[in-house]
């Protein structure tokens, strides 16, 4: 841990991997859970310290710039809160006997490994390394999705695994192509993969190669982002895995893939002759949004419901980045952050709910606000937030996206609004049935801490009404960076 004080970047990477090794061997639930929390907190702290200390020079492997620091901090923060949530959640799972201590050890180790993978993906300055990191994160989540060993869980994991592998392959091919494009300019070997060098010379790259590369990268990482029609793994993985993992998947892993996409979008944007990635992203974003919105109506499993809502929001974000421009990019970033916070908060709530009620069937859950006021209203606020109602954060980003789009591309904005309204209808429909009406199901009080959920919601609420000026300046800078 001494390194953490020395070099935060190293800490961000080392703390998780070391604690993963430690957790793999340590027995006992209480200790490991606590250790998990502590490790995540340390990671978060060291990530925060990235703001204060002067940044390390971009090396061949590591890079810290304005873009990824946002992601890292968000990532480590949600990782931290989720570890708190997972402590109480896993305790219940142990009592319920759905997990054995062995798997628990495995779970914690995997958790930290995944955090490591994601952080690595963020800080890596090398597109090959980034690829590796994303795959590490993916494969660990695959293993965790299947951790319950139920038929359903294995199915989900398997599906995730196969589709993920294809995605991996695509991403790799794209990466190779980028290298090929870069080689004549930046020369052979390591340099051909170093992001900072690439971005400097991208203007001279061979556009035709870049185009093909982008398509493969888009599909490869897009599979992880969960863009329709590459989304198939996402709902089941969310629904069958342990809820903390669902939270992390929605809140973080999707962002990792998105981050990779953004990197390459910037790369392409630099090259004048390459295709504009915008239309592609806008199309896929809209398709995902509207498709997911329709799918929301027929969901019966509460976790699948919110998994689809994640697809929907990823669609919105990709749409925003596809539109580009300072406003839309700002909105996209904001939306991404807000969605991570909100969606993970919702999954915390859903986790407690499904544990209390002993089911994930929506129609078996009713009148939560009556039986569990705190949980129920928290859930209400979360869903209201994710549905894009003020005074919560997502409203602001949606406001910016829609209004800025309508002024530029009215038809696109209309389609976007259509999707938003559809999704809104579905979510509120479920909300009214779950949170209100005659209570149904168990009324047992949950012995769980709502702190993570409430913390997230508080942040979202605050962001919806007041964004601190430094953060705004930061975002605007990043937005300009995204072009």
């Amino acid at each position: 841990m001494t390194m953490a004080s020395l070099d935060p970047v190293a800490a961000v990477l080392l703390v998780p991997i070391l604690s993963a090794a430690l957790l793999a061997v340590l027995p006992g639930y209480r200790l490991t859970a606590r250790l998990n929390v502590v490790a995540s907190m340390l990671t978060f702290v060291s990530a925060l310290s990235l703001f204060v200390i002067e940044r390390p020079q971009p090396g061949p492997y590591v890079l810290v710039d304005d873009l990824n620091i946002v992601f890292i901090v968000l990532n480590t923060f949600v990782g931290f809160t989720t570890s708190i949530f997972s402590a109480s959640y896993i305790a219940h799972e142990l009592e319920a006997g759905r997990l054995t201590p062995v798997y628990l050890r495995f779970y914690h180790a995997m958790y930290q490994t995944m955090m490591f993978g994601m952080n690595l993906a963020f800080v890596s300055n090398n597109i090959g390394l980034m690829w590796v990191a994303v795959e590490i994160a993916t494969l660990t989540t695959v293993l965790m999705v299947g951790i319950y060993r139920t038929h359903a869980a294995l199915e989900a994991a398997w599906k995730y695994f196969i589709l993920g592998s294809v995605g991996i392959a695509f991403a790799l091919f794209g990466t190779i192509l980028v290298y090929m494009a870069a080689r004549p300019i930046v020369g052979e070997g390591q340099d051909g993969m170093i992001w900072t060098l690439l971005i400097q010379n991208a203007a001279a790259f061979d556009p035709a190669l870049l185009n093909v590369a982008f398509i493969f990268l888009f599909l490869g990482y897009g599979t992880k982002v969960g863009l329709a029609p590459l989304h198939a793994w996402l709902p089941d993985a969310h629904a069958e895995g342990p809820t903390p993992i669902s939270a992390v998947l929605s809140g973080l892993l999707l962002n990792v893939a998105l981050y990779a996409l953004l990197r390459f979008k910037i790369l392409l944007a630099v090259n004048p002759h390459a295709i504009a990635p915008g239309p592609l992203m806008v199309t896929m974003g809209l398709v995902s949004l509207i498709f997911a919105a329709f799918m929301l109506y027929r969901r019966r499993d509460i976790k699948r419901l919110f998994a689809y809502s994640s697809i929907e929001h990823m669609g919105i974000i990709v749409f925003a980045f596809g539109m580009g421009g300072p406003l839309a990019n700002f909105a996209g970033l904001l939306h991404m952050v807000m969605h991570s916070l909100t969606k993970s908060a919702i999954f915390y709530a859903v986790g407690h709910i499904s544990q209390i009620k002993g089911t994930q069937r929506i129609n078996r859950i009713r009148g939560l606000t009556v039986t569990h006021p705190a949980l129920g209203w928290g859930f209400v606020v979360g869903v209201v937030a994710i549905a894009g109602l003020p005074p919560l954060g997502i409203f602001m980003s949606e406001f910016l996206i829609v209004s800025s789009t309508f002024a530029r591309q009215p038809l696109l904005a209309v389609a976007l609004v259509f999707g938003l309204l559809l999704a809104f209808g579905a979510l509120t429909l479920r909300l009214t049935s779950v949170a209100f009406g005659e209570p149904r199901g168990s009324k047992a009080s949950a012995e769980a801490s709502y702190v993570p959920m409430l913390a997230h919601l508080a942040l979202v609420l605050c962001a919806g009404t007041y964004l601190p000026a430094p953060l705004v300046v930061w975002f605007q800078h990043v937005a300009r960076l995204l072009g």
Binding site: H151, L154, F173, M180, G189, R299, R361
Partner: protein
């Protein structure tokens, strides 16, 4: 980076050979023969990688070649033979699309990849260009195998041939770092898949592992 024509021709022939073998895979309708063809595919890949290692005098590529040879050309096919026996998967492949159509689609894909790749501006060295074109077609053909075959084993085979395409591209890319690591990583991935098939007793096709089964558990039924 002047490449004298012999070397060029050889690597070109090998790459072309890979594409050809991918086509052979497309019209296999017996499982065992498919596996054998795949073994051949792997061998040719190994050769081409080795050749690349030689002409680029990049010794680390030999490792990749060896992996390809040992792991893909021998271990995996054998393992799959075993599985086919043990799980009593019957021998002939039911394909979703008729062989003829598949062949036509394959042609189209190859044409597509050519069109895309030969756009690459001339100053990129021709070898890389040809290689990429072939690699892309191998990748696409592998994917085609995956989606047209209803049989888990043949789908794995498809995936592996796709991955061969990747390795071909990676090795063709002169001085590309991490190639070895990547090929190792992929071999592990494939091992996982094979083990998965074995563990989960996925007999006929991935379809038996279909999500509708999830719904017995979670009531996502229509």
């Amino acid at each position: 980076m002047q490449m004298h024509s012999l070397a060029f021709d050889i690597s070109h022939t090998l790459a072309g050979g890979l594409v050809l073998i991918s086509f052979m895979m497309l019209y296999q309708d017996r499982l065992y023969s498919l596996l054998n063809v795949f073994a051949l595919h792997a061998v040719v890949l190994a050769l081409s990688v080795a050749w690349q290692a030689y002409i680029q005098d990049a010794p680390h590529l030999y490792i990749t070649a060896v992996i390809a040879l040992v792991f893909k050309a021998i271990v995996i096919p054998v393992a799959l033979h075993r599985i086919v026996k043990q799980l009593g998967i019957h021998r002939d492949i039911e394909s979703a699309v008729s062989i003829g159509l598949t062949m036509l689609a394959g042609m189209a894909l190859v044409a597509l990849s050519m069109v895309l790749m030969l756009r690459v501006t001339a100053d990129a060295d021709p070898l890389a260009r040809e290689d990429l074109a072939f690699a892309l077609s191998v990748v696409l053909l592998g994917l085609l195998v995956m989606v047209t075959r209803r049989n888990a084993v043949s789908q794995v085979v498809g995936f592996m041939s796709l991955e061969n395409g990747l390795v071909l591209a990676a090795t063709g890319a002169k001085g590309m770092p991490l190639v070895v690591e990547i090929s190792v990583a992929f071999s592990i991935l494939i091992a996982f898949i094979v083990i998965g098939i074995f563990l989960f007793r996925i007999r006929e096709r991935f379809d038996s592992v279909d999500v509708s089964a999830l719904d017995d558990y979670r009531g996502e039924r229509r």
